[in-house]
């Protein structure tokens, strides 16, 4: 993945991009990844989740604050990233 070139991606678009990152990293079928999917149940441990957030930072050109840790589902990550895109928009 390179970087996102859309100025205001919707939360669905953010979620889809994150699902693609997870599918690529974990080598699982993207069709099995839903917004409500529990990341741990998809096989991601805490470090894997940080790694996805790291990839999202690069892709969406955002910076996730270090204190953001309350994440369980893909939707949780999508909300976090989407809000940061809106607030950190250049």
């Amino acid at each position: 993945m390179t970087t996102n070139d859309k100025v205001n991606p919707s939360i669905e678009e953010v979620s889809n991009a994150l699902a693609k990152m997870i599918a690529d990293k974990m080598e699982i079928d993207i069709a099995t990844i839903l917004p409500e999917s529990n990341l741990q149940e998809l096989g991601l441990d805490s470090l894997d989740t940080f790694d996805i957030i790291f990839s999202a930072e690069d892709y969406f050109k955002i910076k996730v604050p270090n204190d953001q840790v309350n994440i369980t589902t893909l939707h949780d990550v999508a909300i976090l990233v989407h809000q940061l895109i809106l607030t950190q928009k250049p």
């Binding site: 690529d24 990293k25 974990m26 080598e27 096989g43 470090l47 894997d48 940080f50 790694d51 790291f54 930072e57 910076k63």
Partner: protein
Amino acid sequence: MAYSSNAQRVVITGLSIVSPLGNSLAELTKNVFSGISGIKRLDTPFVDQMDCKIAAQAQFNPEDYFTKHTYSMLDRTSQIALHTSIEAIKDAHLTIDDALKPRMGIYLGTGMGGAQSVEDGYVRLFKDGASRLKPFTVLMGMNNAAASAIALEHKLTGPNQTFSTACSSSAVAIGEASRLIRHGYADVMLAGGTEALLTFGTMKAWEALRTLAEEDPSDIGASCKPFSVNRTGLVLGEGAAMLVLESYEHAVARGAKIYAEVAGYGAANDCNHITQPSVNGQSATMQAALNDANLSANAIQYINAHGTGTKLNDITETNSIKKVFGSHAHELSVSSTKSMHGHLMGAAGALEAVITTLAVHSNTLPPTINLAHPDPECDLDYVPNHSKTLPKLEYAMSNSFAFGGTGAALILKKLN
């Protein structure tokens, strides 16, 4: 110090390698005893920025062995070490059951650890101006990453330690692991070394030391010429080598095939200079191994030399052998297999221990290749250019010396 009466004998029951001479024992055996060189033109995007454009690279593609999730959080150093651990256990036909797990561990040597991962982090930070590093940077770069990945994979809850003494790292790991078994702290140990430092930054650092060999214009594969008057230095290599060490009792009880016995291990420190070896340090190392094996010098028939292909090492090692072995130095054979596989740094001692094991097991001495013009100051039998058979080969020594001064010698014995 001789064995105490209740000490366990230590035997080698499994071997595996990822090396410039192939990734299977069959390939290694074929190449190393036929005098085939693994030294080639450096195959990397930064080759044009190097003065030194040769290396002994291992052909290893992690996608062939691991899931992306596994290999993407392991530095190449850990990938090749983990692979050799799996293959060595297979070679030993060893089943690691719940009873064995606490009695089995991993001792591993590496010089630079996850060099590429550390370098990738610096590139991102200093060159690309990023404000963050990958979350796995520490876990991929730390020196004990490979040993820890191995312990996790096989669920080994016995001792897990990493030794970093530059070029002698993995000989130290094997020696110390054999002592654990000998003194009853473990029944089985994985022991070996790993190194993957053919990175831009590390190779540039080596270039600055001015010890790297020049490319032989007529044959790149002949660029490393230990004990030769026209030598120009060492050739950097990469790879991993793993041994399964086991108490003799444990091996016999499960009917394991035994390659050889680890009969002795000696370590000593040079205390001469950070890079320059000394006869005192090297001879003390070899003598310590002989003492450990309770063996007279005359028993050793073959020495796999440290043999880097630098003038200082070649002559110092030759003189050290003469000091320890006296007139017997001219009766035994010495060879530097680095002439073929290059210098694997932290993995060198382990790869050479594997080769020495194969030599003892097959009664065949690997050659020093590219030895057409012997240095007059190096006047021993270096098994020039062609392997030779020694039907009654019983004891062999493998030497490893290092920047920083830590020397290690292993004595391997054919099991009768």
